[in-house]
């Protein structure tokens, strides 16, 4: 890729000296030197970045005439590097080639007693593994996407067009996964999962676009390949030998095809009818394991399968019609109908594990919704939009097979003054659920299902209020203020999530003070609360499933209220120290989250477990974090073509969470307090100081 760029630059530069009158070459290039001093979690600091000591380059060259060619590159040689070549003939055709990388760093310096990290075979020489973490191997949890491809669009055959593109993404690295050592009631084992994926995507679209008709047909094919079908690991919770290693299954290869037809036609009375029909198929094929590993002599427990190969096959069909119309200048209308069906034709496999027989239940669902919107342009620059949508959902699920949603909304916009726009809105959703009560006796463990309502399908009432004001009293000042309240009540829920509430407030402002400076500022605040009601029962309980049963020390209800309070603010100033020559840019941003969980044992007259009170069980560090950043940059415009910059950035991220506080790699080697962990996501705090110098040149 680098050689292509150098060749292109070499071609472009001489051209610049010998251009015809109607030809131009423009360029924008920058080189930046950076020194970074990072303490703490380098992975969190560089989660999606690659900031380190070094030189960064960026350029964009464009040749323009009847034909055009553009070549761009950024972060050359780094994990975020990106290159693109785009060209064509105006109004005739356009092609593009691209290559880019996206890193995702999770944890650097993770530790494990396993050898073979990065492969699909994790082992250790002697059982049990050592618990002295200092003897373990270091490795990084990090994944890198490398995408490349190209495409061509043909407009020369107007009103017809053709658009074809192909892309490949290679994804490599390691991410954290895990397995239960024994099940149930054993240790947890954190495992480094090898990522070696390849996804090819081919898109083809052809169409016709000329009033009054638009039609397009498209085809998409995507193939996903995982180099590793399974992750083999020696299980420290069992005494099996290396010859009977445990297996965790990984994402299977799959093929995805989609065909769609879309179009619209203009109708009388300023109306348009739009249509969408699409059908897709996803397929996978997996060789199933006919055993599993358990803590038994030899380690291997055979199972009997009705078929050793699983064929996964999911078809979707969706279609929709939309009729839009503006029959009168003050009236906008929209009516729509959408249908979506996911049909799961995957194999049903029967598994016999001793006396236990399991059959998978391929999940399918169907959804159709219809509704209408009517917009009224009222006097005094008032615009009112009213809408109604009805949604029917059906799914292959035992608890709630059907939902019906009725959604009403009202939006109001007023821009009667040159310096003010006011918006307000309200939305009401009523969801009914066809709950299926299981027909089981009170001593059946399934009896608790009578009281459980899962929030994704439970009956609900949801209200959303929102309002915003945008003020621009002068051309140099803009102020925006917004508020949103969302309240969802799951009234039928006995056990599960009963209520979710959120309040958001946002404000921002831009102010230009003549030729002196430009000021920007924003502040966002959100408070979210979730309230859930649950029931604890012993592992082998056969009674007490009804939450109205009098509590005992072993069988009782409990409540949890999670609260997240988040806010972020920022302010910046561009100070024109010497107008058009020297600008000083200052910036400060701050992000803060404060979460907590208020837990309550509902034990009646029974005492709480030893040492616990209703107050000391609560969790006050629940994904708490602060991100502060300060930046200062001076930009000196030496000539019309050359600009020089010098800057400094300070970033500090502090993270505090009860689940990671006082982190231990091996808290215990057996039982349900036991685990062999690797440090994934632990110690995320960091502090970084960056100095940089850059020179940019344009012609």
């Amino acid at each position: 890729m680098r050689s292509i760029i150098i060749a292109a630059v070499l071609i472009f530069l001489p051209l610049h000296c010998s251009l015809a009158a109607d030809e131009t070459i423009t360029a924008d290039m920058e080189i930046k030197g950076l020194i970074a001093n990072v303490g703490g979690s380098g992975a969190k600091f560089n989660e999606y970045r690659d900031i380190r000591d070094g030189l960064y380059g960026r350029f964009h060259l464009v040749y323009d005439s009847d034909y055009f060619v553009g070549l761009r590159a950024s972060d050359i040689g780094y994990d975020t590097q990106s290159y693109g070549l785009e060209g064509g003939k105006w109004g005739s055709f356009k092609y593009q080639l691209f290559y880019y990388e996206i890193p995702h760093n999770f944890t650097f310096g993770a530790k494990s007693f396993y050898s073979g990290i990065g492969t699909n075979n994790l082992t250790y020489p002697v059982h049990p593994p050592g618990t002295d973490v200092s003897t373990w191997s270091d490795f990084d949890y990090s994944v890198e996407r490398k995408s490349y491809g190209g495409g061509i669009k043909l407009d020369m055959i107007k009103p017809f067009y053709v658009d074809v593109s192909f892309s490949r993404e290679d994804r490599d690295g390691t991410k954290a996964t895990a397995a239960a050592g024994t099940s149930p009631g054993g240790i947890a084992i954190e495992l480094p999962e090898p990522i070696d994926y390849k996804t090819d995507t081919l898109k083809f679209e052809a169409g016709y676009a000329k009033k009054p008709l638009f039609v397009s047909v498209s085809y998409l094919y995507s193939r996903f390949e995982n180099e590793n079908e399974n992750l083999h690991f020696r299980n420290p919770a069992t005494e099996n030998t290396a010859s009977a290693t445990d297996v965790r299954t990984l994402a299977p290869d799959n093929n995805y095809y989609k065909f769609s037809l879309r179009g619209n036609v203009k109708l009388p009375m300023n109306s348009k009818f739009t249509l969408n029909i699409a059908s897709s198929r996803t397929q996978s094929k997996t060789d199933l394991l006919d055993y599993y590993i358990a803590d038994v002599p030899g380690g291997v427990v055979p199972i009997t399968l009705s078929d050793n190969i699983f064929h996964g096959k999911i078809d979707t069909l969706n279609y929709g019609f939309v009729l839009t119309s503006t029959p009168l200048p003050f009236l906008d209308g929209r009516m729509f109908y959408r249908y979506y069906k996911k049909r799961n034709k995957s194999d049903e496999i029967t598994t016999e594990d001793g006396e236990e027989i399991l059959i998978n239940e391929p999940f399918g669902c169907k959804k159709d919704d219809y509704g209408m919107e009517i917009g009224f342009r009222l006097p005094a620059n008032l615009y009112l939009l009213t809408a109604y949508t009805h949604v029917n959902k059906e799914r292959d699920r035992e608890d709630v097979a059907e939902n019906k949603d009725d959604i009403y909304s009202l939006d109001l916009k007023w821009n009667g003054l040159d310096f003010l726009t006011v918006k307000a809105g309200y939305e009401k959703m009523h969801r009914s659920a066809d709950f299926r009560r299981p027909d089981v006796p009170p001593d059946d463990p399934e009896y608790i299902e009578i009281f459980v309502r899962r929030f994704d399908v439970a009956a609900a009432e949801r209200d959303i209020y929102k309002a915003s004001v945008d003020i621009y009293p002068t051309e140099s000042l803009t102020i925006g203020i917004g508020y949103r309240n969302k309240d969802t009540d799951y009234d039928d829920v006995v056990l599960g999530l009963r209520e979710a509430k959120s309040d958001e407030f946002t404000v921002d402002a831009d102010y230009i003070i003549g030729k002196l400076m430009k000021l920007t500022a924003y502040y966002d605040y959100e408070e979210v609360k979730y309230f859930q009601f649950q029931r604890q029962l012993p592992f082998n309980a056969t009674t007490g499933f009804d939450p109205s049963t009098l509590p005992t020390p072993q069988a009782f209800n409990w409540e949890a209220e999670q609260k997240d309070e988040s806010y972020d603010y920022g302010c910046g100033a561009d100070i024109y120290v010497i107008p058009k020559k020297l600008t000083l840019k200052l910036r400060h941003d701050y992000v803060r989250s404060n979460g907590n969980v208020d837990l309550t044992y509902l034990l009646g007259d029974n005492p709480l477990p030893s040492g616990r009170t209703q107050d000391n069980i609560d969790i006050s560090e629940w994904d708490d974090y602060r991100l502060r950043s300060y930046a200062v940059k001076a930009v000196y415009t030496a000539t019309k073509k050359l600009a020089l910059s010098l800057g400094y950035v300070h970033e500090k991220f502090t993270y505090d969470d009860a689940q990671y506080k006082a982190y231990q790699y091996v808290p215990a080697t057996s039982g349900t307090n036991g685990a062999f962990l690797t440090g994934a996501n632990s110690n995320q705090s960091y502090r970084a100081d960056m100095f940089f110098f850059s020179a940019s040149y344009t012609f």
Binding site: N254, P362, R454, G480, R535, Y660, Y663, A680
Partner: protein, 305 residues
Amino acid sequence: MKQKLFLSLFFSVLCFVLVGNLHAAEQDIGYAGIEVCKACHQNIYEQFVKSIHGRKEISGSPANKQGCEACHGPGAEHVRKGGGRGVAIVTFSIKDPAAKKSSQCLSCHQDTRSVAFWDMSRHRSLDVACYDCHSAHYGGDKYLKAAEPALCFNCHRDIRSQSNRQSHHPLKEGLIKCSDCHNPMGDFGKKQIKADSVNELCYTCHAEKRGPFLWEHPPVEEKCLNCHVPHGSNHSKLLEKKVPYLCQSCHDERGHPGSVYTKFETFRGLATSGKNRMFARSCLNCHSNIHGSNGPAARGSHWLR
């Protein structure tokens, strides 16, 4: 009777067409010409001729029609009256209805596939005009008035806040854009997503989640957004709520799914059992194949392998 009706209808249509043509004829005589515009609006003229709208190579571009007046309407009267903002000329005032402002753009662009579904766009419904996001005279990618996501955040301030959260897609790092997932010009999907369902959109980048798996997790199969939020979260993996309570809000059974996990079950807690269901990645310490599994027997059906 039918004949009278037909004749009435026919003459009505005819009158409508004739009046329209007369109106068009009036307009034809009112053009000032681009050189006249240039005399007063030199800066804008220079931007215009360099822009895509100023390119003569593109058939149907304003440069091949009446130049500035292709969008601003005939300007002779504007010139005759001595100019001035909004004086006998089409401007894009904040007080004008969005539909009126957009109609100037759509008169050419509705013949293109990128704007083919504008009529069903939520932006259109909410009175957003092309001009609110695009500049006709100059600009970078797609002539946007600002780069994404800053442009979108002008209105979608709640999303700005979410994208600042510690768990987020690489939007603020500039590695993805709002328009990678959403089509601001209108689409069939809810929230104008570029897919027919949420899962289809997510699988574009997360193809490993497509399965199909032997042991599926129904809420996952139905909608990724049952557990995840797309724009940013305080909780890792863009989860809407933190584990274990997220999982427990559905899985309340005897034994460990329904047990209360408190500060006592953390690393520093004094619990004598059950801590590995709470510390570190909580439920995911064991149930790691939560998006679907091909594992054997109950180890697969419980997403442990």
